[in-house]
């Protein structure tokens, strides 16, 4: 760091140039270009109504992508988030169901499903830390396990007809903005501050860069890992709560494929899949970009199958451009 600072003092232009070439800035430029192109594609795209509505649709991916950033920064991965979301959704409905076996108050059912979600995440963490199974294998196994539980508990029954007040979270607005977007905003702020401004957050980078070194530096690696996997489970529970409120029913296949969308957003956001680098801002730009592409291309008349092809291409190009520039930067310093 000292050398870079010295360089900056000698040449103020270099500081600005490095700022400009930061991953987030490059991504932001890509996002801006995409928005301009999509606006040219359809006059319905850049309207407040449409953008707010898109906020509603990206919530579940956003909520899961935030803790996923933590996990990928440590060099881990969590494939079970979609299944945890399915399990939480099913439990929420199952516990509340007025004609079911438990008939709990809705608030209690929500809290219970969040607790179970967190527990599912903690179990992931325990298996990874205590037994030493790699995260990819662990969460691939629990992906199947939690989905199986969801299907077993639901017994093919969906639970419907929630009270009107329950739909506020998923379908209502607060100060003109979809309710769930506020939730996303709050969690974005919290996770951004935690990752970049706290000892805990910085330790995650240390773990991702050199786990053994982090351990020898006195960082409680195991505990931190369990915390982030638990947090991931909790956020999957939040996503389930909001999703059930939005679509007004519970199904055991809810959230299938969610893990891939979340990981795509995180990686597009410049977080290295090998751990050690990444940021919440990058992830935010990542999920916003993917959602706007889906929406904007559809509005421009591109069919759904065409849209996923474009998104895949954009993903590869964004990562290529980013890698190219980062390599130029590190070579040129």
């Amino acid at each position: 760091m000292t050398t870079i600072r010295q360089m900056d003092e000698q040449n103020p232009g270099a500081k600005f140039r490095r700022f400009l070439l930061r991953q987030e800035i490059i991504l932001f430029i890509i996002l801006t270009i995409a928005i301009i192109l999509l606006t040219l594609g359809s006059d319905k795209f850049l309207t407040v109504d449409n953008l707010l509505n898109q906020g509603r649709l990206l919530t579940e991916i956003a909520l899961v992508a935030l803790p996923m950033t933590f996990i990928i920064v440590t060099g881990g991965i969590d494939l079970s988030v979609g299944s945890i979301m399915g399990l939480c959704a099913i439990l929420l409905g199952y516990m509340w169901n007025p004609s079911g076996p438990f008939q709990w108050p809705l608030e209690l059912a929500v809290i219970f499903s969040l607790v179970v979600g967190t527990l599912c995440g903690v179990i992931n963490g325990l298996i990874i830390v205590r037994i030493g199974v790699p995260p990819l294998i662990t969460t691939l196994a629990t992906l199947a396990l939690y989905r199986g539980l969801a299907e077993g508990i639901s017994q093919a029954r969906s639970v419907r007809n929630y009270p009107e007040s329950f739909y506020v979270l998923g379908q209502g607005t607060f100060l003109g903005v979809p309710t769930q977007l506020w939730v996303v905003l709050i969690f974005v702020l919290i996770t951004a501050i935690v990752l970049s401004r706290t000892v805990f957050g910085r330790s995650l980078y240390a773990i991702g860069n050199n786990e053994l070194g982090a351990r020898f530096s006195g960082i409680p690696v195991g505990v931190y890992k369990i915390i982030i996997y638990g947090f991931s489970g909790f956020m999957s529970g939040m996503a389930a709560w909001i999703f059930v409120s939005r679509v007004t029913t519970t199904r055991s296949d809810m959230g299938s494929g969610l893990e891939l969308d979340a990981i795509a957003a995180v990686v597009l956001g410049g977080t290295s899949i090998f751990g050690g680098s990444g940021s919440i801002i990058g992830t935010v730009i990542g999920f916003v970009l993917i959602q706007l592409l889906k929406n904007g291309l559809a509005l421009a008349g591109v069919t759904t199958d065409g849209t996923i092809v474009v998104i895949g291409t954009v993903l590869i190009f964004a990562i290529l451009i980013n890698n190219y520039i980062q390599r130029r930067v590190s070579a040129g310093k």
Binding site: K44, I131, V133, V247, T249, N295
Partner: protein, 397 residues
Amino acid sequence: MNRKLLVGLLLGVVLVLGFALVMPTAAQDRWDGADDLPVNPLECPAAEGAGEASPAEMSMPEYDGGQPTDAPDLAGQPIVLVDVPKLVGIGYFAATTLGQQQAAEELGNVTVTTDAPTEANIDDQIAVIDNYITQGVNGILFAANDPVAIAPVLTRALESGIHVVGYDANSEPAAREWFVNQAEFNGIAKAMIDSMVAEIGADGSFAIVTSTFTTPNQARWIAEMQAYQGKCYPELTWLETVEAQEDNVLSFNQATTLINKYGPDLDGIFGMTSVATPAAADAVAQAGLCAVDAVAGAAGSAEDAVAVVGLATPNAMKPYVTGDFAGCVKSVVLWNPIDLGYAAVYVLRAVVDGEFAPGDTSVMAGRLGELQVVNGSEVLLGPPFIYTAENIDGFDF
């Protein structure tokens, strides 16, 4: 470390085994159609002809559909429709799309575009419809992946003045104006069970491969099949029902698993989707368990044979009905999906033109003639159709 690993693994195995053992037993006896509606089995074959009530003669419930808010009056004018089936890329919905295009061509003042997710996913389907509401179309045709989950977005369409007509898979009635019902559930259930009994006898055992337990049509059919079987063929044994999404490979694997699991106890497999039925037939053919094995001339003793009856499109089933594996499948139950898509467009056009309104008991649908209204806000396409070796080659979709 090693001991921990062992304990962990053991725990996992015990958990998984526990579920594997508990789930199938719990999975019986709960076929309620995932919608809590009462079942209504038709008369048994023996009792037929004793004055069966046709749909039109039954007491007609009140219209229970929704209505668009301030829809523009476009009677006789060109309209733009979007069709959002459960998914694209499968033969069945290609056929409904074909029917829609035929209707659009005949009418001359309708443009229909089909767009849907490539997987039958509720969230993706909602997003697609959402985008078309924003884009602004005159009407939406849909086949729901989930009747309840799709309701809020359809309601939003109605509130935006967009006409909404469903086909193939219904939503909650209030979220759309009309639903074109391809065949009544009890009619399909009866055709399926009767066809199966004709092959395996009234005391055989069968299993079912379906999409998911909560998919509206499939769940309802299974509920009706259970009711009809209980009423007319109590000696039939219902072994198991398995989920296979609408996935080729998974359906094949599930059918193969059933064959291996039950061995000679399994007499027949029902395929509940246009994907599951050919996959099940393929699994039976590859296991050499066709009732008539035209390929080798050997294999398939009648006792081990597994019959396949199911819902599927004719082209996918021709190899097993009249083609290389002729005789593997004797009856394919379905309606005509081309007519289904065709009727949906005609219904929406009639609604826009003001020729079809709540309270009407029938609607004119081009070459299909007059279609009856049933269940308040549903348009009935007609009785199910059974494709056999005699007639299947006359169809191409």
